[in-house]
C-alpha cells in the first residue's frame, strides 16, 4: 500500500512534467500547424540554464526565474529567425528543419557546458520529505513539482479560456486569415505563444534536472513520450494533452514498478525477469496502438482540427 501510494504520486508527477512539455507542443501545433521536434531542446536548455544561474546567483528561486526568462527569450528568437519561415511549408519540412535545430542545440550545449552532465542542487527546504499520510513519507521536492505543475496547468486553462489573449489564441487556431484580417498582430501572437511553449518545456526540464541531471539529449526521449501523449490526447487539444499526460505518466511508472511482480504470477521467475523490462518499456506504446485502433484522431480531437 505504501509503495503503491509512492509509485502513484511518482506517476502523477511524471505525468504532469509530460503535460508541461506536451502543452507547448500541442499549442504550437494547434495554432501554427507546426511540428516542432526541437521542443525537447528547450527542455534541455531550461535545465542547463537553471544549473548555471543557480550556481551564479546562489539562489534556487533566482536561478529558476532567470532560467525561465532565458528559455522564453531563446524560444522567441528561434521563432523569429527560423520558425516564422516554415509555417506555410509542409510537415516534412518542419521535421527536417527542427531536426537540424536539435543537432545545433545539442552541439552548442556540448561546446558551452562540455560533454559531462550538470547537477542542479536543491536548497535544503526542498530537499526533505513530508508526511503525506500517517506513516507515509514523500519527497518534498516531488510534491512541490506536482503543486507547481498543477498550478501552471490551471493558469494555462484560465489564460486560454478566460482572457483576451486566450481568445485570440483560440481564434488563431480556428481561422488565422480571419483573425489577421481583423487587425490582430498575428506575428507577435505567434512569437509569444512559441516563447511561452518553450518556457513551459524549460520549466519541465529544470524540474526534472534536480531529480536526474542536466545532460545532452535529455529532451529527446521525453519528447517522444510527449508525442505519444499528444497522439493519445488528440493534436491541438490542451484538455486532451492533460488527461493523456497523467494517463501515460501513471501507466509508465506504475507499470515499471509492478509489472515484474505481476508477470511472476503467470511466468517462471527467469522468464519474468527477461520479459518485464521489455514489456514495461513497450507498455505505453501498446496502449497508444490500442487507442489508435479505436480512435484514430485521439481521445479528444480539437474542434476544427485538420
Amino acid at each position: 500500500m505504501l509503495l503503491f501510494v509512492e509509485q502513484f504520486l511518482n506517476g502523477l508527477q511524471f505525468g504532469l512534467l509530460l503535460f508541461l512539455l506536451a502543452a507547448g507542443l500541442t499549442l504550437v501545433f494547434g495554432i501554427m500547424d507546426l511540428v516542432n521536434l526541437a521542443h525537447g531542446s528547450f527542455y534541455m536548455l531550461g535545465a542547463y540554464f537553471a544549473a548555471t544561474f543557480t550556481a551564479l546567483t546562489g539562489s534556487f528561486i533566482g536561478g529558476v526565474v532567470l532560467a525561465l526568462a532565458a528559455t522564453l527569450l531563446v524560444g522567441m528568437a528561434v521563432e523569429v529567425i527560423a520558425m516564422r519561415r516554415l509555417y506555410r511549408r509542409d510537415h516534412l519540412d518542419h521535421v527536417l528543419a527542427t531536426f537540424g535545430l536539435i543537432l545545433f542545440f545539442n552541439e552548442l550545449v556540448r561546446l558551452i557546458w562540455g560533454p559531462a552532465g550538470m547537477n542542479l542542487t536543491l536548497p535544503s527546504w526542498l530537499n526533505t520529505s513530508v508526511e503525506i499520510l500517517p506513516d507515509v513519507q514523500y519527497s518534498m521536492y516531488r510534491l512541490s513539482i506536482i503543486v507547481v505543475a498543477l498550478a501552471v496547468a490551471i493558469a494555462l486553462y484560465l489564460i486560454v479560456m478566460r482572457t483576451r489573449v486566450g481568445m485570440l489564441i483560440r481564434a488563431g487556431a480556428s481561422n488565422r486569415e480571419m483573425i489577421s484580417a481583423l487587425g490582430i498582430n498575428i506575428k507577435l501572437l505567434y512569437t509569444f505563444v512559441f516563447g511561452v511553449g518553450a518556457a513551459l518545456a524549460g520549466l519541465a526540464g529544470l524540474m526534472q534536472a534536480a531529480i536526474l541531471t542536466a545532460q545532452i539529449g535529455m529532451g529527446e526521449n521525453i519528447l517522444i513520450l510527449a508525442f505519444v501523449v499528444i497522439i493519445i490526447g488528440g493534436i491541438g487539444s490542451i484538455r486532451g494533452a492533460f488527461i493523456a499526460a497523467i494517463f501515460v505518466g501513471l501507466i509508465d511508472t506504475v507499470g515499471r514498478a509492478f509489472l515484474p511482480d505481476l508477470l511472476k504470477l503467470a511466468l517462471s521467475p527467469a522468464a519474468a525477469a527477461t520479459a518485464a523490462p521489455a514489456l514495461s518499456s513497450m507498455l505505453i506504446y501498446l496502449v497508444m496502438a490500442i487507442i489508435l485502433v479505436v480512435r484514430p484522431a485521439g481521445l479528444f480531437p480539437a474542434p476544427g482540427s485538420r
Binding site: F29, V35, A82, R85, L86, R89, H91, L92, D93, V95, L96, A97, F99, G100, L101, I102, L103, F104, F105, N106, E107, L108, R110, L111, E220, N221, I224, F227, V228, I230, I231, I235, T274, P277, A278, S281, M282, Y285, L286, M288, A289, L292, V293, P296, A297, R306
Partner: protein
C-alpha cells in the same frame, strides 16, 4: 530508349562508375578505410532508397525507418550468437521478420495521416529500440558482436571485403531497379495517385489502404536487407542503429538527394556522408554547422541535389 545526355544523367553515370571503381582505387592506394566508408555508403543508400519508395512516391513520411535496419541486423546477430551461421537461413528469416513487423506497424499507422503518421512511426520505432535495449541475453545497450559473417558455403565469401562491397553494390542497384519497376507499374501509379488524392483514388475503385500497406511492407523489407548487410559489414549490432536520430538521418539523405527521384537517395547518401567526413575534419563540433545547413537546405533548396541538377524546383 537512350537516356538523354542531361547534366543529371551524366552525374548519375559518373557516380555509378565511381562506385564500381572504388575497390580498384582502394587496392591501388592500399587504403582499406575508403572501401569501408563506401560499403557503408552503399548500404545506407539502399535503406534510403527504400524510404524514398514510401516517402517520395507514396507520401508516407516514416520517421521510424531505421528500426528495420536494426531488425535485419538483430536477426543475423541473434542467429549467429545461437550458432546458426548459414546465410541461407539467416537472410530469408531476417527479411520475413522485417516484413512482418512492417506489416503490423503499417496496419496500425496507416489508419492515420500527416503529422499523426510521422509521430506514430517514430513512437513504434522507439518501442522497438527499447526492445533492443532490454535484450539482456544479446548485449542489451552495449550491443552484440558478430564473430562470423553469414556463411554461404562455396557460393560467396562475405569475409572478403571486395567481394562483400560488390555484393552490396549489386543489391543496391537491384533495389533501385525494383523501385523503378514498381513506381512505373499500375501498382506504383495507384500509390502515387493516393499520395496526391487518396479519397479520389478510393472513389475510382482502388483499395488504397491495401496498396499503401503493401508498399510500406516492401520498403520495410528492403531496409531489413540493408540491416542484414550493415550487421555483416560492421560485425556488430546494437540498439544505436535504431536510434531515432538514425531515422532522421535517413530522411535527411532522401531529401538532400531529392525526394521521389530514382537516384536521389543514392546521391543524397553520398553527399550526406561526404559532408559528415568533411565537416568533422574541420571541427569536432561539426553538427553545429550541419544543423543550420540542414535548415538552410529546407528553406532554400527544396528539390534537393537532384532538383538542382535537373534545374527544376519541386513544389
Amino acid at each position: 530508349m537512350m537516356p538523354a545526355l542531361t547534366l543529371r544523367n551524366v552525374v548519375v553515370a559518373l557516380l555509378l562508375l565511381m562506385l564500381f571503381l572504388v575497390p580498384v582505387y582502394a587496392a591501388v592506394i592500399g587504403n582499406n578505410f575508403v572501401l569501408s566508408l563506401f560499403t557503408r555508403i552503399v548500404i545506407l543508400a539502399m535503406a534510403a532508397t527504400s524510404l524514398n519508395l514510401i516517402m517520395g512516391y507514396g507520401g508516407m513520411v516514416s520517421f521510424g525507418h531505421a528500426a528495420y535496419l536494426g531488425i535485419g541486423g538483430y536477426v543475423v546477430g541473434i542467429l549467429a550468437y545461437e550458432g546458426i551461421l548459414s546465410g541461407f537461413l539467416q537472410w530469408p528469416l531476417a527479411l520475413l521478420v522485417s516484413a512482418l513487423i512492417a506489416f503490423v506497424i503499417g496496419l496500425l499507422s496507416l489508419r492515420t495521416r500527416g503529422v499523426y503518421f510521422i509521430m506514430i512511426t517514430l513512437a513504434f520505432a522507439q518501442m522497438i529500440y527499447y526492445v533492443g535495449v532490454s535484450l539482456n541475453r544479446y548485449g542489451a545497450d552495449d550491443g552484440l558482436t558478430i564473430y562470423r559473417r553469414s556463411q554461404f558455403g562455396d557460393l560467396i565469401n562475405l569475409s572478403n571485403k571486395t567481394v562483400f562491397y560488390y555484393l552490396c553494390l549489386v543489391l543496391l542497384l537491384a533495389s533501385i531497379y525494383l523501385v523503378w519497376r514498381l513506381v512505373n507499374s499500375r501498382f506504383g501509379m495507384a500509390i502515387q495517385g493516393a499520395r496526391s488524392n487518396d479519397r479520389r483514388m478510393h472513389a475510382i475503385g482502388f483499395p488504397t489502404f491495401r496498396y499503401r500497406l503493401t508498399c510500406f511492407v516492401i520498403a520495410g523489407t528492403i531496409c531489413g536487407l540493408a540491416g542484414v548487410l550493415l550487421a555483416n559489414h560492421t560485425d556488430f549490432i546494437s540498439p544505436a542503429v535504431m536510434h531515432w536520430t538514425r531515422s532522421g538521418d535517413l530522411i535527411v539523405m532522401v531529401v538532400l538527394g531529392g525526394m521521389g527521384s530514382l537516384f536521389g537517395p543514392l546521391i543524397g547518401t553520398v553527399a550526406f556522408l561526404a559532408l559528415e567526413e568533411w565537416l568533422s575534419g574541420i571541427t569536432e563540433y561539426w553538427q553545429i554547422i550541419f544543423g543550420p545547413l540542414l535548415l538552410a537546405i529546407v528553406l532554400f533548396a527544396r528539390g534537393g541535389i537532384d532538383g538542382l541538377l535537373a534545374g527544376i524546383r519541386r513544389d
